[in-house]
């Protein structure tokens, strides 16, 4: 009998899992439908470049349905909620979609309204975010008019998509104002709720050094409780204040509202509790999750969705065949970090191994955790890979789902540097 596979969300994770499943499963054996509220697929890594005039907003958007293989149905509809007990998706227009297997690929949602004052006076005038296309475009105009003063880049709280993006913004802003000849008039400050620029020691050391080198001051353990756009200040929950002439914030993130409306599906923040190794949701055996929508303890990033895709597609076919799932996902994450002036760093890590130096994917390869022109070119090439390899659900040559160890300078056993840490 033909199985019905429903995928909620036509973003990175939803698109690539639908395409992978379509290749693995005979059309007679499975119908695959991808459901999304709109037909605009945004290349999110490109948003970072928009404020600096380095990417044209229109070039980042393509139709969602065009990224799907023949044999995958695209249904444009908003989801009201999932009824896990009934194996049924309820759409906002009142119709229902029954499924045998459901994949939640609804991503993360920005909730700027959850921070007091953030969307109040000054929002999109003095206080911006580049995490949306509209925000990135508005910020480009504001950046081009910015003649000097204090510019702060602030992360409200974790988790956020692409946690290195705000750091990259700092590096690119340094280059940008240098090129405009007004770097000496701009005070750049990075504000983070974490106790360092990055959570993992080796990477934190490297990125902190880079911030210092570029004259970006850092305020740590600053948990923003209020954004006062009119007064130009951030106030932390513990009563500290920091002023700004312009603020670039990464708003709080939640899971999608339809997940939050579905009884038993999401956690307190609306992310789907998911087995970190098999990617099966904890809500029901026939419900799986991929990408930013999950609660798995790794970065919310496109590379993660890609690496998850290989494991998840095979686990769904195993599930349909009545076979046990393979606990094969290791948390593999791979990010290019744009460091300004046409250079970039590369980090590669998983649940157990923090980002370290060395080369990727093996002894001959891109330098890890070190600025290079080659990595910058890699970051630019990634856009092509995204549309032509990741979304179609194909493998990147020489890069497997599991994190490679060859080429990495891993801390020796017994060294004070923790080689293993839970997150």
């Amino acid at each position: 009998m033909t199985k019905r596979i429903a995928v909620l969300g036509g973003g990175t994770g939803g698109t690539l899992i639908a395409n992978r499943l379509r290749r693995l499963l005979d059309r007679a054996d499975a119908d695959i439908v991808v459901i999304d509220a709109d037909d605009e697929h945004i290349y999110q890594p490109g948003l970072l470049f928009v404020p600096f005039g380095l990417a044209k907003p229109g070039s980042l958007i393509r139709p969602r349905h065009r990224q799907l293989r023949p044999g995958v149905t695209f249904r444009r509809a908003a989801v009201d909620r999932v009824d896990v007990a009934q194996d049924q998706v309820r759409l906002a227009d009142g119709t229902t979609v029954d499924y045998d297997v459901l994949v939640i690929a609804t991503g993360a949602r920005l909730v700027p309204e959850e921070t007091e004052g953030l969307t109040g006076p000054g929002w999109m005038e003095k206080v911006f975010t580049f995490y949306t296309l509209d925000g990135a475009v508005a910020l480009e105009r504001a950046m081009s008019r910015f003649a000097g003063g204090r510019l702060i880049v602030a992360v409200m709280d974790m988790p956020v998509k692409c946690p290195v993006a705000p750091l990259e913004f700092c590096f690119l802003a340094d280059s940008y104002f240098r090129e405009r000849g007004i770097r000496d008039k701009v005070e750049l400050t990075y504000v983070t709720p974490l106790d360092g620029a990055f959570t993992k020691p080796v990477c934190n050391r490297e990125l902190s050094g880079l911030l210092k080198e570029k004259g970006v001051s850092v305020i740590t353990e600053f948990n923003t409780g209020e954004v006062d756009g009119a007064g130009g200040r951030l106030v932390s929950y513990d009563g500290r204040e920091t002023g700004f002439d312009m603020a670039v914030v990464v708003p709080l993130h939640s899971g999608q509202a339809c997940v939050q409306r579905s009884p038993g599906l999401g956690d307190e923040l609306g992310f789907v509790p998911t087995d970190p190794a098999t990617l099966q949701s904890k809500a029901a055996p026939n419900v799986f999750a991929i990408g930013d929508a999950t609660d798995v303890p790794t970065s919310k990033a496109g590379s993660v969705a890609h690496f998850e895709g290989e494991v998840l597609a095979r686990n769904i076919t195993r599930y349909l065949a009545g076979e046990p799932l393979a606990p094969a996902f290791d948390g593999h994450t791979n990010c290019f970090i744009e460091s300004g002036s046409g250079r970039a760093l590369l980090i590669d890590f998983n649940y157990d191994t923090e980002p370290v130096t060395g080369r990727f994917p093996a002894r001959i390869g891109l330098p890890l955790l070190r600025q290079s022109r080659l990595n910058h070119l890699g970051k630019l090439a990634f856009s092509w890979l995204y549309w032509n390899v990741l979304l179609p659900g194909r493998e990147i040559p020489a890069v497997r789902s599991q994190m490679p160890v060859a080429g990495k300078r891993l801390p020796r056993r017994g060294s004070p540097e923790p080689a293993r840490s839970p997150r």
Binding site: D157, G225, D238
Partner: protein
Amino acid sequence: MPTVTYAGTEVTVNDEGFFADPAQWRPEMAPQIAAREGITELSERHWQVIKFMRHEYEAKGTGPTVRVLGKTSGVTVKELYQLFPKGPAKLAAKIAGIPKPRGCI
């Protein structure tokens, strides 16, 4: 790992003072741990958070972040910072004898 004596019992803690074994914790230890962190008196509101931390740890194997605490513990983030200045999630976890909440990447 270092050991500390709370309420007459020797317990193992890590370098930052978090319990290595949450099972060693007993409620009567909490005021002493709190005092070391500069909290001289544990109010009913403090206890609400401490009990919630224990409960969450037992259910999920990790303590909640401050944002989740603010949504689920019945105490707002603002008040959490008044009760446990600087870092409510970290401080409340330490006093509740559970490991440091895992930060996200």
